[in-house]
Symmetry: C2
Subunit: 525 residues, 2 copies
């Protein structure tokens, strides 16, 4: 309690005082991720997609072209991580290269970064969700449920909770072309980001240290551009909610720098940086085309990343391995949770030299590249899945991480990411329509969480087939080529087709509404 700078309403748009070098092609200017392998859940993996959907902290306009943040909120470009106090709003700007389609919405939610926990629901701790808690004063539970850890200050925000407890907030995505065009500062600040942007404010209603919820784990804030049941893009943001953002950022950066100096002290960095994920997630993934006019026959409920009806393939490098990990982690035959922290650091060092295709920047080729193969129609998807299974089995790459360690005596929930032939149960999600400043509900807002995830599904060993050729020409061209910085139109991406072949990542249905069996991280000390 006490000095919590709780805000009842998010300020319209404020200047910032923190690190100005936000997300500016981190792959090129920042050292590649040298920490533990990524851990984002497959349905949360950053994927700019054809819209080059990306997130930047701050609000960018003529008065604040650099998007400086206010108050204690701060962003570390070194770590690509947001440090923010609980209860305070911070503006985030979602960019896209092309204007979003009508009815596009952004689903915002928080996930655990670690692979062990990435399927565990992040909800508010019992202390803070208590109606009598001071953090809830001036809060309208009708608008934002007390259990939701993430609030979006938008009159049309809709708060959803699936039966299994997965929480998210959906707001319309009304990106407009940036009014501040030629500002040098703004240009610098938004280099690599699309010309269309939409700014909203978010706040977190728990600390990262809150027992009974995040419990000192690392989290990512995920912004998912959706249109109906399609996921058009995913952006995420490494987030730490703490009472002393500045202090903690400084400390984290210092630690990172000295680790970097001492050559990736990849031993037991568990304490200080609990399996930190490598930063710069929303910029190191190549995006390809994807049809927006989807027309599937059936749907997978619950929030999950998906490109069900569109042909699409996304090439990623290191980041892809996260996917593999995650998918592996979700396999029905999953053995246990591989300890990210003890994963082959050498392997990652090698990967560091590779570059990932981005819509805006030239990158090198990654032999470990992973393809996201989107299929049109469920049948196709399942067929493709089986094919890919065979391919993955053939490519007998050694498993990545084999050392398991039980850090947390918490119940390990069995992930439900597996290809199911029958669709999951209907949404039945609880929707709280925001009725604050603006009581009218956006009819275009997708309140259902039923989206599909088409993802790579490697063999048990999770490693990627080492073949690097056979790339769909209609995809993000060659990994060596430098895609033009200009946004690709949706029409151009519509020509994409699925490319079934080895080393392609097979798609797997991912009911992202996964955390079912176990209760949320409702444990205290």
């Amino acid at each position: 309690m006490y000095n919590l700078p709780l805000q009842d309403h998010a300020p319209a748009a404020e200047p910032s005082t923190s690190d100005p070098q936000l997300n500016i092609q981190p792959e090129l200017t920042l050292p590649p991720p040298r920490q533990t392998p990524p851990v984002l859940d497959s349905s949360h993996t950053p994927m700019p997609g054809i819209y080059n959907f990306r997130v930047r902290l701050g609000h960018f306009d003529s008065t604040n072209p650099t998007g400086k943040l206010t108050g204690s909120t701060t962003y570390s470009s070194l770590l690509d991580r947001l440090f923010i106090n609980m209860g305070v709003y911070t503006p985030i700007t979602l960019f896209s290269h092309t204007p979003p389609p009508e009815g596009a919405v952004v689903r915002c939610f928080v996930v655990f970064s670690s692979q062990e926990k990435c399927t565990t629901t992040v909800t508010r701790c019992p202390n803070h969700r208590s109606a009598t808690d001071h953090s809830n004063t001036g809060n309208d539970p009708q608008k934002a449920p007390l259990t939701h850890i993430l609030q979006v200050s938008h009159p049309q925000a809709q708060y959803l909770t699936t039966p299994s407890g997965v929480e998210s907030a959906v707001v319309p995505y009304n990106a407009r072309e940036s009014s501040v065009k030629n500002s040098a500062a703004k240009k610098e600040r938004t280099a690599g980001f699309g010309a269309f942007q939409d700014t909203t404010s978010i706040r977190y209603m728990c600390y990262s240290s809150c027992a009974g919820s995040i419990n000192r784990e690392n989290i990512h804030t995920v912004f998912r551009l959706e249109l109906g049941s399609d996921i058009l893009g995913v952006a995420s943001l490494d987030t730490k909610i703490c009472s002393c953002p500045s202090r903690d950022r400084t400390k984290a950066e210092k630690l990172t720098r000295q680790q970097e100096a001492s050559g990736t002290t990849g031993s037991s960095r568990k304490r200080s940086e609990k399996g930190r994920d490598s930063p710069s997630h929303s910029t190191d993934i190549a995006s390809t085309g994807a049809t927006k006019d989807s027309h599937t026959s059936e749907r997978i409920q619950a929030p999950s990343i998906v490109h069900p009806h569109s042909s699409q393939a996304t090439l990623v490098g290191k980041r892809s391995q996260r996917l593999i990990q995650n998918v592996q982690h979700k396999l029905p035959t999953r053995i246990n949770t591989a300890d990210t922290h003890t994963a082959h650091p050498m392997r990652w060092s090698t990967a560091q030299s590779t570059r990932i295709a981005t819509a805006d920047s030239t990158v090198g080729i990654d032999e470990d590249a992973v393809y996201y193969v989107a299929v049109r129609g469920r049948q196709n998807y399942e067929v493709l899945s089986r094919v890919a299974d065979g391919l993955n089995a053939l490519a007998q790459r050694p498993p990545r991480a084999r050392s398991f360690r039980q850090h947390n005596p918490l119940p390990t929930r069995t992930p439900s990411l597996l290809v199911t032939s029958n669709p999951p149960p209907p949404p039945t999600t609880t929707a709280n329509t925001a009725a604050p400043t603006n009581t009218n509900t956006n009819t275009n807002t997708n309140t259902s969480t039923d989206t599909k995830t088409v993802f790579s599904r490697p063999g048990q060993n999770s490693t990627i087939p080492s073949l690097s050729s056979r790339r769909n020409p209609s995809l993000v061209s060659s990994t060596t080529s430098v895609p033009p910085a200009q946004p690709r139109t949706a029409a151009s991406s519509r020509s994409l087709r699925t490319v079934p072949s080895r080393e392609r990542r097979v798609s797997g249905t991912v009911p992202s509404d996964v955390p079912v069996s176990e209760s949320p991280a409702r444990n205290t000390r």
Copy 2:
């Protein structure tokens, strides 16, 4: 979560590893309280009473005559404070000079030590009361409610919760004459304690630092010997529930010692020792007689200290000032909560040179002595109250503490300790009868919380009349005299009568079930 040494069942009786000098006439062997004035709630003020009802940590028998504690649990005789981890049982022994009457029970509960909070209910934090919290595994909610912060390992324990949320556990008091009589060690360890003893184990289900409950405040564990609606004695124990009892004890002792060296640095010790109360509460209060065969006409509901029908007067020294503070604090005309930490340290230093009459030890005279005058019958009590008011008004002693400071933005609840002419509402308490090992309920156990409190009621200025004479001869004799160490019989105390006069502490009805208006300290950071 994690390494919590939770115990499902209290061990029968274990040896100890901590400070052996427990409560051995602390007034004589330990420096007198030099810290902030006492703060125990009037209904929780230690009062050995005619039974010399006192508490000692540990279990004392032939195998463990010194009552050593086990595990991390430790006791500081310097601070007279228990340091204990959450979830672990520790044996406590309740002593009495004479065998308790049939049906006598002990009500156990936790109170805030500070006068500002002493009327606030201490309950469990939302995190730990959550049924899914690991601290509740193996816990039978039918036995001990999840909300109760204090658990008593007794088959006949009854857990009560008043409508206003006051929680307590009641267990029968079956004190038997110590079987280990002549052990030198035991004798030393139990010097000053009665020959009759009953040992039970208790545990705490929250940390002292738990936001949403104790929230880093100081607490006392109160053991109240009750017979029906009569309170026969009150013992209390300064308690800190922490994850590192040893470390915290060492640190607290070191701080105390250096404060002591630097001459009672009575300035702002708020941080380190949040208005710590002076220790040794259960031994520095003289006890007098009190009839057990009460026969009042009406009762005051809810737990509260009381000697409704018996004539009794208790003389206390420094400790008495706590009472005054508390009573003042509860006056209807109460201005605000006086900051204990800024209270006149000089005044207390002076008081240090005084000695308090104990049933077992000779002590000096305290001119600031306070008398607890028990009256028989409500009418008498109210008359006496009015008389005392006048007396207090005449004795124009300057108010003790006048500097108010707002440390806690929490809602300050208006204490309800005032003389009401109509009795409070009926108990309506929720009783959870323990049905663990032993399912049979003790019919003698008093499940109702309706007891009366007869207490001194000073003027607004709370100071004590400086008169030190006019003591009831039937009371604990003279403050200078050394009461015999032998236990007084109940019969001897029955001869006591009320002595209405100036400088006598007037009695005031104290519905101890006070914390009503506001919700419990349900605030987090």
